[in-house]
Structures are given as structure tokens and as C-alpha cells.
């Protein structure tokens, strides 16, 4: 079967259990089993080729430019691991079906399990390191989900996060390491990398790459000092512990060390780091395991210890070490998975895994006892079981290893590790199964159904068979070891033997077993000693680190983002000034090319007024009405400035905008207190002032600099001046720019205006439906209301003025193309005419007489402008292309008709609509339910004689 299928089957199959969930637990487990079985058989079809020494490959390009490709390869090592993963997977699925209770969501469980299986198979079959990383992180993620499977347990959640954080960190480090490796070799393909031992080891980046990759391996395989997450991962359901956290996932790091062994090993750095980490882990794990009461915790630390053992073997860098490592991986997978499943059975039946509450299970659970004891004895290194064989090889290798110049260090440590290992194995058997039957088990235990004991039993059969007849697996183990070693070293050993003669390893083994027995005998006092010894608690430390990191993050982020806009603006402005200053300081300046003009008394006076108004505004900004007046002065002075600088269009626009803005602001001020409260301290105001002044000076400097200099070549405005009449049909260049040269900008800007009005409307609409409405209604005006809100004088005057203003607007609109004016200004003028009606006769009266809703006017304006633009498509010209012609309709003079005027009409409508809609929205806020809705244009009308007026007269 294609390797792709082997990897893909679990992934696609992961959809099935979730779907089959409602069909029942057996159906769920059944599909999962079938999927795994298919992948397993698919893998086995490749066995002949692998045994023949071939490397089966499959390749699909994914991101060839990056070098990340879907390249798979199956050699001895990959096959070995894939066999473990899928084979044990089948057993675990069977076991899990019976282990999980009715309350557990089995579909979810098997989905995660298959995801994990796929990812794990992916790791061992990858021929591309980046692809390997993808699968690598996927195993971390699926492990996260599986550890946290029992969501209601806090241990599960914490354990899951811890595992993810630690293995995730390692994974990310490994990303770095692999990328370096790829850059050294020039390819991310493993087959290429494995060919480049010399190049890699000679590269100056070898050590960083090595450290980063080992960080990944050590975290994944729980090597000291990253071993602490594994015991906490035991919060997962036992099938998960047996599968991920003893047999497969934690071996991913070891797999990778084995995979990279030919290129990375053999250097002093590799030897020292890997061997010593493995050695420390082995001893430490074994010692801690002895004192654990939780069966799963005991097994977890024993796993840590054995992983250390394998790591140490790989670290030695010799071919024999690699062989021993491979063999022990196989043996460990068999006995440890069986042990975990046995522990799970005990937990399942007795409802506790606490070794202190157990004992005597031998009679109650004979089958489980047999399975667990054989597996544990194998782990202890008792002859005729497979653990003995690989442990002997390990001791043999240790005997020849010289670390830090000492011949004794490694052998002594290895023996010590074995000794403790034997001890906790004996304790596991003795304290759980031996001894008297108790009558205080939380639940009366008995052997479970075959579905649960059969999977570990199968493994134990393997334990015994390999232990008694190692030659059965000898070829296979050698084949795998050779694929690990590659061409890097030569394997001299030819056989795996039970009896080697009276070699040092045997003595070390005997010391270990005897010492183990002694330790178990003296366990009780030792345990007391252990309890009283202070030692770091990994979970507490880890939580403290994460919480500390989170608190530090909060201490950094929250004060920085404290919601103070002044602060944000200050930092922003400082950044701008600093960047600008840096650009200035690093550039070159030449002499100015323009002369400064002489300032006459008039401009100086105007300038002084502008400055005075601005300073006054800053000084008196808390008085809102006053500051509005000052703003008005500033606006007026700017308008006058435009007049002085010969920009009448701008002046008119600015002026009308000022009027409309002030009216709108006055309306808004109506709802606000007269004064702005003091919210900042004096130092802060000084700080803000300094920043503001610096910003102002910088702007001044910038403007000053540019005013004295010419553009690098002729500005495009020359073209506009030259072609305004010829091409745009207008002599007012500003207007031609607005409606023709850059009409598209104007199109955008009227849309901005329209949107602004729409959102003012939307805003008031939501305000009126919210709690603000109540506040507005309860508002007490701080000054007495006028009795005559709509005075006759005003009403009459505005009515008279209305047609005049409209005419002015029309005039301004029409002359726009050639003289100062245009749709924008005309729109503002007409708006002012209508606003006056509102002011004179009130909101209700005026809007009742309104025929065109302002939303519609805005929409129509934008549409008219848009249609003018599209119109040119019908004569095969681009959007907004203008045309003009001259017509004469007697008795008028000849006059110009330009399409630009139509566009200007759109501008006009949009402006009128936008201004009026904003005004209307504000007025709606002012409406009060208790205000009498007058149907008359003015409060007092001498020509009217009705009861209302009479009443009002009395009131006045």
C-alpha cells in the first residue's frame, strides 16, 4: 500500500468515530479499529521490501519553493516505529472500548486518538524535516486534547496545558534547529541531510542546531530537566497513557535522535549533552518512581527513567549503543504498555490506583496479576524476559563509556538506575498484588472481561517470547539498527544472546536485582525519609512560572493600554517627531532657492489674531461656549488667509463650512455642560503641552523648509493651469480640478461626507433607543428657556430671505466652473437657508413640511455623481470623462453646458443631504416628549386668533 495511504488513513478515518458516535460504542470503536487495521496491513505490505534493505519512498510536492514537500520514506527505523504505533494502537483501541464508561464521549476520544495515530505515523515516515515538524506539533496538539479529555478534571486541564507548553516549546526550538540544518545542507529532505555528516558537523552553526533539535527531542521524550510534564499527563484516560505517554509519542524524541544519529552523533557536544541528560534522567526517574503511590505516577516516572536509558545509549555514539537502544525501544514498548493497561485494569476494577489502598489482588485478579507481574519482572531485568536482554546490553555499553574523563561515572550511575528500577518493579508487584487480601477496597475487584486483559496479554506473550527466543526478532532488530547507524559506524555484534558469560554487565545486573530487593524490603523507612526531604514540586513551579509570566504580561500590557487617549496620542506624536527628526538628522541640507517674502502689517495683524485666538482657545478650552467662539475666529482668520493668498474658492468653502460647523456645534453644546471638567494633573498637562509644542514646531520647520525650496521638476499643477480651459471647459482651475482633473477624489470625498451624516444619524438613533434617552429627557436646562422660542421677527425674516439665499446658491453653483463657487459651496449655502427655517420655526414644524427625506438626498447625490461618471462609458470614454459645449437659448447669452456641472449637482445634493441629516439628527436629540408640538410656524402670530395663542399670551 502506498505510504500516503498509511499516513492518510488515520487522518481521514478520524472523521468516522465522531460520526458513528450515536451508533453506539462498539460501532465507534469498530470503525476506529478497522481504520487502524487497514493502515497496519498497509504497512505490513511493505515489509518484504524493507527487510530486503530497500527504502520505500513516496513524494508529492507541497511547497517546493520553501523546500517543504510531502515526502515519505520507509526504511527499517521508520517501519519499526510505524509497526509499534499501529500495532499497539490496535490493542489500545480494543482496550479503550472497554475502559471508557458510558458517560464518556467515545466518538471524541477515538477521533483524537486517530488524529494522534496519523500524526505519529507521519513523524516516523517523513522524509522531509519540515514535514516532520508539522506532524511533530500535531502530536503535541492531539496529546493536548487527549490529556484534557476529561474536561471537568482540573488535573487534566493543567496537565494538558503543561504538556502543550513544554512540548510546544521544544517543537518551536526544533523548528529553528531544523531550519538551520536545512540552510547548511541546502535541502530539507532527510535523505539529503543524512548524506552530509561532515558538512554539518564542520559548520559553525552545528552547535546551535544541535542544541535546538535536542531541545525538541528532550522535551518530547521527557528528558531531564523537561521530564516533569509526563507524570502530569497521566491525568489522561489510561489507554492514552499507555499509548501516547509510554509506547509512542514520548518516543518521538528518541526516534528523532535515532533518525539524526548518523549526522549529529559522534561529536563531543552530542556525547556530553545526550549521554549526561539520559543518565541523569534514568537515575532521577527511577528514584522518584520508587516513592510514588499512584500506580500510574510510578509507571510514568519509570517511563521517564527508561527513556533516559535509551537516550543515554544513543548518546554514546557507538554502533552497539544504537543497537541496544533500538532493542530496548522495542522491549520497553511491549512491557510498559502492558503495565499501563494493567494499572488501568486495577483502577477500573478497584476504583483506586493508590498503591497504599491496594495489595492482595493476586487472588482476586489472577489474570491481571500474571500479566502485570511478567511485564514488571521484564522491566526489572529478570532473565528470560525481554527486558533483561536489552538491560544487559545497556550495562555492557555503560561499562565501556567514559564520561567527563571518568571510567566509573557511567557504570555506577547505570547500575544505580537499574537498581532503583528493579526496586520499583518489585514494589509494583509486591504492594499491589501480593500480601493479604484486604476488605477496604473502594470497589470489590475482580478480573475484567477479555476485551480488557487480552491486549496486555498479547504484549506479555511478546515479552516472554522475545525473552526466551531473542533470535526470532534478531534479524529485524539488526535491520533496524543498521538503518539507524547508516554509514556512520560499523556494527560488530552479530547476535543477541541471553548468556554472555561472566561479564561485568552480569555482575552489575545481579547487584541491581539484589539491591532492588533490599530496597523494597526497607521501603517503609525510606519512604518516610523521602517524605521529609524537601524537593521541588514541578507542577507548582510550572504553574508559578506560567502565572508569573501571565502576571508580567499583564503588568506590561494593561498599564500600557490603559485606555487613556491622551497617552496614546502622546506616544504616537513622540514617535512621529522622533522618526522625523532622525530622518532630518541623517540627511543633507542645501541652501534654500527661494527668497523669503516681506510680510506687511496686514498679514502680521491677521497672523497675530490667529495666534491670539489659538492661545486663547488653549487657555480657555474648559469654557465650551467661549472656545467655540474662539474656534470661529480661527476659522475666519484661515478663510481670510485664503483670500489674502488668492484662493477665493477655498475661502468661500472654508467660510461656509465654518458657519455650518458652528451651528452644528452649538446644537451639540446644548446637551453638554458649559464647562469641561478638569481631569488631568498639572504635570501631565505640562507634559502634554511640551509634546504639543514640539509637534507644532516640527510642523512649522517642515513647512518652512519646503516653502523655500522648489520641487525637483515642474509640478503637475502647471499642466492643470495650462489645460483647465482647453480640456475642462472652465477657467476656474480649482473647480476644474475638483470636478474634472481629480473628480474621482471629489467623488470619494462626497461619499465620506454622506457616510459621516449617515453615521451621525445611526448614532443618534441608537442613543435615542438607549439609556441616554432618559438622561436627555431628565435634563434640566442650566439657563431659563426663552418663552418665545420661535419669534416672529426671525420667522418672517427667514421666509423672506429664503428665496434670496436659494438664488445665491444657484448662482454660486452655476458660476462655479469659471469663477469661484461650485456645487460644494452652493450646497452649504442652501443648507444654511434650510437650517434657518429650522431655527426659526422649530424642528417639528419644519420637518412636517419636508418633502424629501435627507437620506434620499444623500443617496441621490452620490448616485447622480456616479451616473455622471458612468455616462461617459456610453461614449466609450473612461469614468467621469467630461465634455462641454456652448449653446445659446435666446434671449440669453451664449453659455456653457458641461457634464461636469451634472457631477457638481451630485456634489451639491450630497452636501445638502449630509448637512441637513446631521442637523436633523442633533435636533432629534433635543426633542422632548413634553414639548408641545406646535403646528404653527411661530409662537406668537398677531394674525392668528385661537385658544392656544390666547393661552400662550396669558402665559407670557
Amino acid at each position: 500500500m502506498s505510504l500516503f495511504l498509511v499516513v492518510a488513513l488515520p487522518f481521514f478515518g478520524a472523521l468516522l468515530p465522531g460520526m458513528m458516535n450515536s451508533a453506539g460504542r462498539s460501532a465507534c470503536a469498530g470503525v476506529t479499529f478497522t481504520v487502524s487495521l487497514m493502515a497496519f496491513v498497509g504497512l505490513l505490505t511493505n515489509l518484504p521490501a524493507v527487510m530486503a534493505g530497500e527504502v520505500v519512498t513516496a513524494r508529492v510536492d507541497w511547497m517546493p519553493l520553501l523546500g517543504l514537500n510531502f515526502t515519505l520514506m520507509l526504511d527499517g527505523l521508520g517501519f519499526f516505529f510505524a509497526l509499534l504505533i499501529l500495532g499497539i494502537g490496535l490493542l489500545i483501541i480494543t482496550y479503550g472500548r472497554h475502559y471508557l464508561s458510558r458517560n464518556d464521549n467515545m466518538g471524541e476520544f477515538f477521533t483524537y486518538l486517530l488524529l494522534f495515530q496519523g500524526a505519529m505515523v507521519g513523524i516516523v515516515l517523513s522524509d522531509n524535516v519540515l514535514l516532520l515538524l508539522v506532524f511533530w506539533e500535531l502530536t503535541s496538539l492531539s496529546s493536548f486534547l487527549l490529556i484534557g479529555y476529561w474536561k471537568h478534571l482540573p488535573e487534566g486541564r493543567q496537565g494538558a496545558r503543561m504538556a502543550l507548553a513544554v512540548t510546544g516549546m521544544g517543537g518551536l526550538a526544533m523548528v529553528g534547529g531544523m531550519l538551520i540544518l536545512g540552510q547548511i545542507v541546502g535541502s530539507y529532505d532527510l535523505s539529503v541531510i543524512l548524506q552530509n555528516r561532515e558538512a554539518i558537523q564542520a559548520d559553525p552553526l552545528y552547535v546551535p542546531a544541535l542544541v535546538l533539535i535536542l531541545l525538541g527531542c528532550f522535551t518530547k521524550s521527557a528528558q531531564f530537566p523537561f521530564h516533569f510534564w509526563l507524570p502530569h499527563a497521566m491525568a489522561a484516560p489510561t489507554p492514552v497513557s499507555a499509548y501516547l505517554h509510554s509506547a509512542t509519542m514520548v518516543k518521538a524524541g528518541i526516534f528523532l535522535m535515532a533518525r539524526m544519529w548518523p549526522v549529529l552523533s559522534g561529536t563531543p557536544e552530542w556525547f556530553v549533552i545526550v549521554t549526561s541528560a539520559g543518565l541523569v534522567t534514568m537515575v532521577l526517574g527511577a528514584v522518584i518512581a520508587l516513592f510514588k503511590h499512584d500506580l500510574k505516577a510510578l509507571l510514568a516516572f519509570s517511563t521517564v527513567s527508561h527513556l533516559g536509558l535509551i537516550t543515554m545509549l544513543l548518546g554514546t555514539g557507538t554502533a552497539f549503543g544504537a543497537l541496544a537502544a533500538v532493542f530496548h525501544i522495542l522491549n520497553h514498548a511491549t512491557f510498559k504498555a502492558a503495565l499501563f493497561m494493567s494499572a488501568g485494569i486495577v483502577d477500573h476494577e478497584a476504583h483506586t490506583r493508590d498503591i497504599r489502598r491496594l495489595g492482595g489482588l493476586r487472588r482476586l485478579m489472577p489474570i491481571t496479576f500474571a500479566i502485570a507481574s511478567l511485564a514488571a519482572l521484564s522491566m526489572a531485568g529478570i532473565p528470560l524476559l525481554n527486558g533483561f536482554l536489552s538491560k544487559e546490553m545497556m550495562l555492557e555499553e555503560a561499562h565501556h563509556t567514559v564520561l567527563f574523563g571518568s571510567h566509573w561515572l557511567v557504570p555506577v550511575m547505570a547500575t544505580l538506575g537499574s537498581l532503583f528500577s528493579a526496586a520499583y518493579c518489585f514494589r509494583f508487584i509486591g504492594h499491589t498484588f501480593l500480601g493479604p487480601v484486604r476488605d477496604d477496597y473502594p470497589h470489590k475487584p475482580h478480573d475484567p472481561g477479555a476485551g480488557m486483559w487480552m491486549p496486555p496479554a498479547i504484549l506479555v506473550v511478546l515479552v516472554v517470547v522475545i525473552g526466551v527466543a531473542p533470535f526470532l526478532v534478531q534479524d529485524f532488530v539488526f535491520m533496524v539498527a543498521k538503518s539507524v547507524i547508516g554509514d556512520a559506524a560499523e556494527l560488530k555484534t552479530k547476535y543477541i544472546k541471553i548468556w554472555h558469560g561472566l561479564v561485568p554487565a552480569l555482575y552489575m545486573s545481579i547487584i541491581a536485582v539484589v539491591g532492588g530487593l533490599v530496597l523494597v524490603r526497607t521501603h517503609a523507612p525510606l519512604q518516610k525519609l523521602w517524605e521529609t526531604t524537601p524537593r521541588p514540586e514541578a507542577k507548582v513551579i510550572f504553574e508559578a512560572i506560567v502565572e508569573g509570566a501571565a502576571r508580567m504580561a499583564q503588568a506590561l500590557i494593561h498599564p500600557l493600554h490603559n485606555g487613556s487617549f491622551t497617552r496614546y496620542a502622546m506616544i504616537g506624536v513622540i514617535a512621529m517627531i522622533a522618526a522625523g527628526y532622525h530622518a532630518w538628522a541623517t540627511g543633507t541640507v542645501a541652501a534654500p532657492v527661494r527668497e523669503l517674502q516681506v510680510a506687511g502689517p496686514v498679514p502680521i495683524a491677521g497672523w497675530a489674531m490667529l495666534v491670539a485666538a489659538t492661545v486663547g482657545l488653549v487657555a480657555m478650552h474648559r469654557h465650551r461656549l467661549l472656545s467655540l467662539i474662539l474656534i470661529g475666529i480661527v476659522g475666519l482668520m484661515v478663510s481670510i488667509g485664503f483670500v489674502y493668498l488668492s484662493a477665493p474658492d477655498l475661502a468661500m468653502t472654508q467660510f461656509t463650512v465654518e458657519v455650518v460647523t458652528i451651528i452644528l456645534l452649538l446644537l451639540a453644546l446644548n446637551f453638554l455642560p458649559n464647562r469641561t471638567p478638569v481631569e488631568s494633573t498639572v504635570p501631565r498637562r505640562i507634559r502634554d503641552g511640551v509634546v504639543a509644542v514640539a509637534g507644532g514646531l516640527a510642523t512649522f520647520g517642515l513647512a518652512y523648509h519646503y516653502m523655500l525650496r522648489e520641487a525637483v521638476t515642474t509640478p503637475i499643477s502647471e499642466f492643470h493651469l495650462a489645460n483647465s480651459y482647453k480640456g475642462g471647459g472652465g477657467t476656474n482651475v480649482v473647480n476644474v480640478i475638483l470636478v474634472d482633473f481629480r473628480g474621482f477624489d471629489t467623488y470619494g470625498e462626497i461619499i465620506v461626507l454622506g457616510i459621516a451624516a449617515l453615521l451621525i444619524f445611526a448614532l443618534t438613533e441608537t442613543l435615542l433607543n438607549g439609556p441616554v434617552r432618559r438622561r436627555l429627557l431628565n435634563r434640566v436646562p442650566d439657563q431659563p428657556r426663552s418663552g418665545d422660542m420661535h419669534p416672529m421677527m426671525m420667522v418672517v425674516l427667514t421666509r423672506v430671505i429664503m428665496p434670496v439665499v436659494l438664488l445665491v446658491g444657484f448662482y454660486i453653483f452655476m458660476r462655479g466652473h469659471n469663477e469661484p463657487g461650485g456645487g460644494f459651496i452652493a450646497g452649504l449655502i442652501v443648507s444654511i437657508a434650510v437650517v434657518m427655517q429650522y431655527m426659526a420655526s422649530g424642528f417639528t414644524w419644519t420637518s412636517a413640511r419636508l418633502r424629501y427625506p435627507y437620506h434620499g438626498v444623500i443617496g441621490a447625490g452620490v448616485l447622480v455623481a456616479g451616473f455622471t461618471g458612468i455616462g461617459s462609458w456610453f461614449v466609450a470614454k473612461p469614468f467621469l470623462t467630461s465634455d462641454f459645449t456652448y449653446v445659446r437659448i435666446p434671449p440669453f447669452h451664449k453659455f456653457e453646458l458641461a457634464t461636469a456641472a451634472l457631477f457638481d449637482l451630485g456634489v451639491f445634493l450630497a452636501v445638502v443631504g449630509a448637512v441637513m441629516l446631521s442637523l436633523e439628527s442633533f435636533s432629534r436629540l433635543a426633542r422632548r416628549a413634553d414639548t408641545p408640538e406646535s403646528e404653527y410656524p411661530m409662537d406668537i402670530d398677531p394674525s392668528r386668533d385661537d385658544p392656544d395663542t390666547a393661552k400662550m399670551k396669558e402665559g407670557v
Binding site: 506560567v546 506590561l556 504616537g572 465620506v752
Partner: protein, 513 residues
């Protein structure tokens, strides 16, 4: 001259006023037109992408005036790619807004949505710097309208900060434009590229300051630290579909930087050396770090996502600030990824809000629809944190690969990798509290505040996921395409000659000089 290129701008610009004019009281009609418009946009965008995929450049003279005297629109591979991304995102976001009912919780949602699209698409298509300013204004004001859609105190407060900070940006944009015009006398990008190259070594301060100010404007849009302050609260407080649409808004800033600082101020331009090439990369790294630290620090899910947006923009900017074809190619790949992932997360946060009434990162009873939402959050978080197998991881690899050989490579790698770890921890903590811890508590009281999310809402998020997965599976094609785009940016002869040598009304551009 084909009119296709202007249609992505004109279509929403017609739909929006039409909706205001004719359909403002009928949410049903608005929805039909809005969705139809966005579907049409996707079709247009696909057409444009196809039209320029052979390396040709589309060009449009507005009002028929030739560049640099009039405004031109230019569509090359880069701009059409962004147009396509925007319209695809818009479709799903719109579907979500309709499905969740957000569009009917205030006024004028659909009109503002269309205007917003017009602004974004215009910014991508214009070839004129001042016109870019106009479109920035359109998208700013429309986004402000969308942001405060449906009102509420916190939202209005955040909205004020948003609009104020961006108005500072607009002001700065005007300063920058004034400076650039004063220095060069033109506003057309292609013309600017030519004229800036004419500036001699004897006086460079003017153009240097102009270049820096302009970059800061775009940096505000792209939310680069320390100009990012407007982002967290405004994105967090905005209605979720709006925040999801905003995922593309920061990319407008990134796009503008890519465009302007490869064409007008290319990295090898002597006059502007030693500026952004010096400090943009460190700033981007700080953004990345701050963003991901913010993920860890967040106390509410929406702010967590907002900070992850800052972080992902940092990542984009790291790649951009390498100013090399590989860097830009990686940045573009990551831009697509981060847009989709950001949108997905914001929409999911709304599922949470719908299901349990708030977004506090505290343990509360299981929300409505918890399994679906939790699953989606898990995948979304994987995407945003850049874990395999989704495109975030591929993008991260691309960025790391591209930065190999840069001066700051050690910093880049260290910060990219460690910030990934921080965000993984942050997302894991948040997800564990919101989704897992809930199971330790009892069932939820029946409550009017919460509801099971609508099917269309799930469909919309599912659609975005489908896009994200496609982005991962077809990474080869996308990355090959972004590489072509990036190469084209550094060899823009077709663009330049087309824009500057095609005559328009009344003019032969040569003659006018």
C-alpha cells in the same frame, strides 16, 4: 479601455447609496442586494486576477486625463490579489452578520458595509497617492460607522478613540502628501518613483522626512507598535462581524507599505537609506512580541484576539521589512493567512458571546453550542498561533526562511519562535478556561441573554475555514503566486511604462514636462 478595473469600486459605490435611497427601511432587500453585490465582487476580482495573471497590468485613466495629471487606477498582480482576498472575506463576514442578526441591530449596516468595501478596494486599486488618501478617508469613516454599529457605552468610547487616532493619522498623511508634493511636484506613484530618483545627494532631508512620515501613516493603519494603540479596544468593542472585516484593514496599511516602499522608495534608493530599513524591522519585532504577550495577558476573549491581530501584523511586517522578494512573498502569504485567521477568531468570539452572554476569561457554566464552538476555537487558535498543520505554520516557516541571512536573523528567529510559544500558552489558557473548565460547573440557567448560534453563522465560519484549509493545501500554488507578485514588485517596468507612457486627454505626457 476596459472598465473592469473600476467596477470593484463603482459597484459598492452604487449599491450603498441605492440601499440608502430605496431600501433603508427593508432589511430583507438590503441583505439581498448586499450579498449579491459581494458575490459580484468576487466574480470581478477573479476576473481581474485572471486578467493580470500573465504579468500584464491593467490601467484606467479617470476622467481620461493621463498620469500624472489625472488619477489612474492600476491593477497588477498585487492589487488584484488583495481585491480578491477582500471580497472573499467580505462574503463570509456578510453572511455571518446576516445569520447572527448583527446587521439589524443598528441602522445602515449594509450601506456602510458597501462603502467600507469601496474604500478598501479603492485603496488597493489606485495608482495615485492623494487618491489613496481619499480612499483611506472613505474606509476610515465607514469603518467608524460600522464600529459603533448598534451603539453601547463601551463601544462608543472605543469608537471615539479609534476615530481620533486615525484622524491624527489622516492629518499626518496630509503633512506627508504636502511634503512629497513640495519635493517632487507630483502625486502619481509611478511618476513619483521617477522623480524621487532624480533627487540628488546634496539635499535629501526633504524627501527623507516625507518618506518617513508616509511610512508612519501606513504604520498606524498596520498597527505597528508604538502606533497600535487604537487597535485593541476598537477591535474588541466592535461588533464581531465588523471586527472580522477589519482583519483586512490592517492589511491595507501593509499593502501600502509594500507598494510605496518597493516602488517609490525602493530599498536601494540612496536618498532614503538608513531610515525604515533601519528601524522598521525592530519595530515589527516589538509588535510581534507585544501582540503575543497581549494574548497571554488578556482578560477577555475579544481583547485576546485583538492582540493576536497586532502580533500577526508584527509578523507580516517582519517579513515586509526585509524588503526582498522572498520576504514580500512570505509576507503576502502570511497576509492572506492572518486575514482569514483573524476573521475566523472574531466570529468565533461572537459564537461564545451568543452562547454565554459575555467574553470574560472566567469559568462559567457550559455555553450553548459548546462542542461546535470549542472545536472551531481550537482550530482557529492553532491557525493564529501558527501551529501545524495550518497555513500559519507554513507562513511562519516562510518568514523564518526569508530572514535567513538578514542582519538581525537571530533576533527574528528568537522573537518569532518565542512569541509563538507565548501565544500558544495564551490561547491554551483561554480555551481551557472558557471551554473546558465550564464542564466542571453545573449546567447553565436558562437565560434570555444567551442563545444557540444560528446555522448561517456556522456556515459563514465554516466557509472561512474552508478558505484557510485551501490556503494550506494549495500552499504551493499560492506561494508560487506570491513569489511572482513579489518579483514583479521589484521589476515594475511594465507598470511604469504603462502608466507613464499611455497618453490621455489633450496630452502627450512627454510634451508636458
Amino acid at each position: 479601455m476596459t472598465h473592469w478595473i473600476i467596477l470593484p469600486i463603482v459597484l459598492p459605490a452604487f449599491l450603498a447609496p441605492f440601499i440608502v435611497l430605496a431600501a433603508r427601511h427593508h432589511i430583507g432587500i438590503q441583505r439581498v442586494f448586499s450579498v449579491a453585490g459581494v458575490v459580484a465582487l468576487i466574480a470581478l476580482a477573479l476576473g481581474l486576477v485572471w486578467a493580470v495573471s500573465d504579468g500584464s497590468v491593467l490601467y484606467y485613466r479617470l476622467s481620461n486625463w493621463a498620469a500624472p495629471f489625472g488619477i489612474v487606477l492600476v491593477a497588477d498582480r498585487l492589487s488584484t490579489l488583495m481585491v480578491l482576498l477582500t471580497s472573499v472575506l467580505a462574503l463570509f463576514v456578510l453572511l455571518y452578520a446576516i445569520g447572527s442578526g448583527w446587521d439589524s441591530r443598528g441602522r445602515h449596516f449594509h450601506a456602510l458595509f458597501q462603502f467600507q468595501l469601496m474604500g478598501i478596494l479603492g485603496a488597493f486599486l489606485t495608482g495615485d497617492l492623494f487618491n489613496l488618501f481619499v480612499f483611506f478617508e472613505v474606509l476610515l469613516i465607514a469603518s467608524y460607522g460600522l464600529m459603533i454599529h448598534a451603539g453601547g457605552n463601551a463601544r462608543l468610547k472605543a469608537g471615539v478613540q479609534y476615530v481620533l487616532f486615525n484622524l491624527i493619522g489622516s492629518t499626518l498623511f496630509l503633512f506627508a502628501l504636502g511634503s512629497i508634493y513640495a519635493e517632487t511636484g507630483t502625486l502619481n506613484m509611478a511618476d513619483l518613483a521617477q522623480r524621487v530618483a532624480l533627487i540628488g545627494a546634496e539635499e535629501t532631508v526633504g524627501i527623507r522626512i516625507a518618506a518617513v512620515l508616509l511610512l508612519l501613516v501606513f504604520a498606524i493603519k498596520a498597527a505597528i507598535v508604538p502606533l497600535h494603540f487604537w487597535l485593541p479596544s476598537s477591535y474588541a468593542e466592535a461588533p464581531a462581524p465588523v471586527a472580522a472585516l477589519f482583519a483586512i484593514m490592517t492589511k491595507v496599511g501593509a499593502y501600502a507599505i509594500i507598494r510605496v516602499y518597493t516602488m517609490i522608495f525602493p530599498p536601494n534608493l540612496e536618498a532614503t537609506m538608513g531610515l525604515h530599513d533601519l528601524w522598521l524591522l525592530p519595530a515589527a519585532l516589538v509588535s510581534l512580541a507585544i501582540g503575543m504577550i497581549g494574548v497571554l495577558a488578556a482578560r477577555k476573549l475579544d481583547r485576546l484576539i485583538a492582540f493576536s491581530i497586532i502580533g500577526s501584523m508584527g509578523m507580516v511586517m517582519v517579513a515586509i521589512s526585509l524588503f526582498s522578494p522572498v520576504g514580500i512573498a512570505a509576507a503576502l502569504y502570511y497576509i492572506i493567512h492572518s486575514t482569514l485567521a483573524g476573521a475566523i477568531l472574531f466570529l468565533i468570539s461572537d459564537l461564545v458571546r451568543t452562547g454565554r452572554g459575555n467574553l470574560d476569561l472566567t469559568a462559567q457554566p457550559p455555553m450553548r453550542g459548546t462542542h461546535m464552538t470549542a472545536g472551531m476555537f481550537f482550530v482557529g487558535a492553532i491557525a493564529m498561533a501558527g501551529l501545524p498543520p495550518l497555513s500559519g505554520f507554513l507562513g511562519k516557516l516562510l518568514v523564518l526562511d526569508a530572514s535567513y541571512g538578514a542582519d538581525l536573523v537571530v533576533w527574528v528567529w528568537a522573537i518569532v519562535l518565542s512569541s509563538s510559544l507565548i501565544s500558544v500558552i495564551g490561547f491554551a489558557r483561554a480555551g481551557s478556561v472558557v471551554f473546558w473548565k465550564a464542564h466542571g460547573l453545573g449546567p447553565m440557567e436558562p437565560d434570555a441573554e444567551t442563545a444557540r448560534p444560528a446555522t448561517l453563522a456556522y456556515v459563514a465560519i465554516g466557509g472561512l475555514f474552508a478558505m484557510l484549509i485551501a490556503h494550506t493545501v494549495f500552499a504551493e500554488k499560492v506561494h508560487a503566486y506570491t513569489t511572482t507578485v513579489a518579483t514583479e514588485l521589484f521589476a515594475h517596468d511594465t507598470y511604469m511604462s504603462l502608466v507613464l507612457e499611455t497618453p490621455g486627454k489633450l496630452s502627450d505626457p512627454k510634451e508636458a514636462h
